[in-house]
């Protein structure tokens, strides 16, 4: 019996597509303030698990609890409002919107002005928009993105796009942040900066972070605990040290390298 309720509790969760089990029997607990890694070879089901946690897919088995509340059949936007926010493996920015507007979209659920007051341009439209503008700008400064504020998101350099996606995810005001391979396509220097950034935001926003990473060495450095997924199932769980020497993990990763 745990004394402390976990922030996120995943119980026996699984999903089948047709006859294929993409993810099965996953159990997980994340406590407030943790930085936890989720690793596994390609096609292990890591992103699918994220999609289950964020409501993009509805699990065929098991249950997911966030702050003790069952998330069953909640649509993604409601889950985001409850405090789970994410980034995507293949960056999904609003390309034609400016950098600052990308962040403002994430603030949308906090907007105080209604559609009618926007159409009629009532005073609270102006105050609401101004507040969003200020908050969004604050965020961009924090991420050193304010120099790009009016550029279209699609015109940002790749590394900055990744930063913007994280900024946007944070603007949605999450307690749990899910990062899907944030370092993909980055060089070692950019990766190091990114990891610093993650440590910084975690401190600043008092966040819990679940990080998917393909590259094992990277996760080993920053995460306190690591879950390992292979063929849709958790094959190991423990500290980086335990994971490093876990026979199943070695096998899974070796297996991948051979093929």
């Amino acid at each position: 019996m745990e004394t402390d309720t976990p922030l996120l509790k995943v119980e026996q969760v699984g999903i089948r597509f047709g006859g294929l089990k993409a993810v099965a029997d996953v159990n997980m607990k994340l406590y407030s303030g943790e930085l936890v890694g989720l690793i596994g070879p390609n096609g292990a089901g890591k992103t699918t698990l994220f999609n289950l946690l964020t409501g993009v897919y509805v699990p065929t088995d098991g249950r997911i609890f966030f702050k003790g509340e069952n998330l069953r059949k909640q649509p993604p936007y409601k889950i985001t409002k409850k405090g789970i926010s994410r980034t995507f493996q293949n960056i999904r920015l609003f390309e034609e919107l400016s950098v600052i507007d990308n962040v403002k979209v994430a603030y949308h659920s906090l907007a105080k002005h209604s559609i009618l007051s926007s159409i009629l341009r009532l005073p609270n439209h102006f105050s609401g928009e101004k507040e969003m503008e200020e908050k969004a700008l604050e965020f961009l400064k924090l991420f050193n993105l304010d120099q790009y504020r009016d550029d279209k998101a699609k015109n940002l350099p790749y590394g900055q796009q990744r930063r913007l996606e994280i900024a946007r995810a944070l603007a949605a005001n999450p307690e749990l942040l899910l990062l899907d391979e944030p370092a993909a396509g980055m060089n070692p220097k950019e990766t190091a900066q990114l990891m610093e950034l993650i440590a910084f935001i975690r401190e600043k926003f008092n966040l819990t972070v679940l990080l998917i990473e393909h590259d094992m060495s990277l996760v080993m450095g920053v995460c306190e605990r690591i879950y390992v997924l292979d063929h849709g199932q958790l094959i190991a769980h423990g500290t980086p040290e335990e994971i490093r020497n876990h026979p199943k993990v070695i096998e899974a990763y070796l297996g991948e390298e051979v093929s």
Binding site: F17, G18, T47, N51, V56, Y57, F88
Partner: protein
Amino acid sequence: MEIIQQLVNGISLGSIYALIALGYTMVYGIVKLINFAHGDVFMVGSFVGFYSITFLHLSFFPALILSMVACAVFGVLIERIAYKPLRNATRIAALITAIGVSLLIENGMIFFRGAQLEAYPNDILPTNKIDILGVTVESKSLLILGVSVALMIILQFVVHKTKIGKAMRAVSHDAEAAKLMGINVDNTISATFAIGSSLAGAAGVIFGTYYYKIEPLMGVIPGLKAFVAAVLGGIGIIPGAMVGGLLLGVIESLVSAAGGSLWRDGVAFIVLILILIFMPQGIFGKNKREKV
């Protein structure tokens, strides 16, 4: 017996829908494009058939084959000129282009020959009445049904037994992988358009023979309905298009028989919206998810 009579009419109409629907479904399966111009290929096929019969004095079968060949070429031309450059564009851009091509063919046809009706001669096929268990069936209907079924069987053979059919199935499954396996994707797509368009051409000649009257905008409504048939059967699935076409033809005939002949054209669209909402994958379709 009235019902059975209507059923026979429905099946004849449905087999025309099915032939057109096959082209929609094949093209959608391979390039994920709703080829709006497909109904107009059907119209062009009908006119080619008409001119072969009236000017070249061909009989039914040579006219059918000539029309199929002409439409195959026409379909490939459309694909090469209008659709190929857009293969990597958004689906909406491709759809708008398809609408543009459709309008161009219709109005080009009106521009060159006028909008007036043309009537197929009524002696192309023998019109004996055959009595089957108290139901009078025109021999023409049977022949048309036979031709449609034969074409569908040939299509099944082509898709499943020939090299080009295998290539088509491979490309529709995964174009990238097919390319890596040495399949010429461009040619396979063109072949798909050729086969689909030739079936539409055949449908055009059959339509003319059966309903006589043809005109430049004749392809619009049957084209849309054939698309409905393709969706009904599960888009991208060849047997689905056949079943969907026949089913739609029968539904329409039964609605007409029930006294709603003015509503006949609306039924297809009501079926469409119901199917899209409640069974978007169609009768034979598999549920697919968007990759995140």
